[in-house]
Assembly symmetry: C2
């Protein structure tokens, strides 16, 4: 039976570290400050924003929530972002996705100052990450890497199969894990919906990262014995027994996978809490004027 990785516990560790860093900054008169813009009243988005707010409070990061009405125009949204861009007391800016129909999310993300782009969605930051000199690490991919590192799972030299090529998870992860770095140097295969014979690839992997956004994408018999499974999926499935009428499951069939894997992350309680912890870290980084590390890609 696989060791079940406790993402909540790891996230709590990181939050403690961040809280200490925040204290240090406070001593220098810097109060890290995250501004989150939410447009409209999507219930799931409201939960996400509330969770981020709570996490900020836990570690001493100031958090402002800017609520804009459902019928906000693009130009009003952009003007609001620009205000935050020029506000020296604000270090990090998030625009909660999805935006109501009619609003251009891509343009909104791109109008956030790259120096305050704690989600790492701005093309310039995506480019710097791709080139191996990140200004910020995208939260969910960074959370995945942190889980591996803190669980003592070596990355260099390993064969990692990533299932999913989204711009938020799969693709940046592939670009991170193949960099010349202690947290990279893996051989990585990117699989996706057009991959022929997915299990052919997953069967060979030392580490499988499921980020496909579809329950049951990975089942036990698709895995190599003693592999490590990181499940990034968060899917709602109907469950009449649950009070809410649904429950959250990952992309991995946990029951069959835990019989084969050496380590596995659960959903919920795996990657999710790590994502928020990484966001807090980015806020601290943004507050200490982000620069690019000198290391780069290569051979």
């Amino acid at each position: 039976m696989a060791y079940i990785i406790d993402g909540k516990k790891l996230a709590a560790e990181i939050k403690q570290e961040v809280a200490q860093e925040v204290q240090g900054l406070m001593g220098k008169g810097i109060e890290p400050h995250l501004a989150v813009i939410i447009v409209g009243s999507d219930p799931a988005s409201q939960v996400y924003v509330r969770n981020k707010h709570k996490a900020c409070q836990e570690v001493g990061v100031r958090s402002s929530i800017i609520e804009l009405s459902e019928n906000t125009t693009q130009s009003v949204l952009l003007a609001r972002i620009e205000e935050l861009n020029t506000d020296k007391a604000v270090h990090g800016i998030l625009v909660q996705s999805p935006l109501p129909k009619g609003l251009d999310e891509q343009e909104a993300f791109q109008s956030i100052s790259p120096l305050k782009d704690v989600d790492c969605f701005h093309p310039e930051n995506v480019g710097l990450l791709t080139q191996g000199r990140p200004r910020f690490l995208p939260c969910t991919p960074a959370g995945v890497v942190e889980i591996l590192v803190r669980t003592g799972i070596e990355i260099p030299g390993k064969y990692i199969v990533i299932v999913g090529r989204s711009n938020i998870v799969g693709r940046p992860l592939a670009n991170m894990l193949t960099q010349k770095s202690d947290r990279g140097n893996a051989t990585v295969t990117i699989c996706h919906t057009r991959t022929r014979g997915l299990s052919y690839y997953t069967k060979q992997a030392d580490i499988v990262i499921a980020a496909a956004g579809s329950p049951g994408t990975i089942i036990g018999e698709m895995l190599n014995n003693n592999c490590v499974v990181v499940d990034v999926g968060v899917n709602r499935v109907e469950d009449p027994a649950a009070k809410s009428g649904f429950r959250l499951v990952g992309d991995v069939d946990f029951e069959s996978a835990e019989l084969v894997a050496s380590h596995i992350t659960p959903v919920p309680g795996g990657v999710g809490p790590m994502t928020i912890a990484m966001l807090l870290r980015n806020c601290v980084k943004a507050a200490t004027s982000p620069v690019s590390p000198p290391w780069q890609g290569g051979d």
Copy 2:
């Protein structure tokens, strides 16, 4: 015996297409114009710059070569780039690599306006490419894709192993070939110097792209029968029989590989000519005010 792909011939086809586009633009009063900055007197760089200049002339793209002395300061270099950025008659700007020691190449590349960055080295353009909405395609990776397409080799669904993770070739290629697109949708593995058992991966591939920068990286017995081999390497090896004392070889041992592969590109005469053809295409694109295509990444 493998079919030997004639990169020169394919490049000539593309040049003809570009020449026609240039004629069309001329009719509208637009003369595509590439400015190339070369600092110092590195002989190889001078050959590259001359070749680009010649290629521009062949298709009717105006080409200006700005020669700066070996002891140019960074601030003078940046000022020269800024002049070209604001010069409306200039559409594309290249800074020939490598720059003399003491100059910051990365800063120079980043100071080129992203709208004139025909090499696609600017982080913003790298980010847009990574996100699947490229403004420009980087020349060598685009040349590799074009070789496959024009040779009638399907990319979607194929298993492609890329050997090399450089920011100029391997990494952008991986990001391109995995996009949701007719020229993507491949399952891609990125291998590099820290990959354990390279042949394990190359043996499985439908298409092997060698971009490691080292002769003999790939030999015949590392290949799957009837695979396609694209050799991006350009390496000088000593050759007393040659007038210059050296000859150019790729990363692939051609003699043994051509016995196993179904298709193979030679060095020279494979990817090299395609790179310049793609640069010309980018110059035309830059002259017609580059915009981002609407397609994006995804599942």
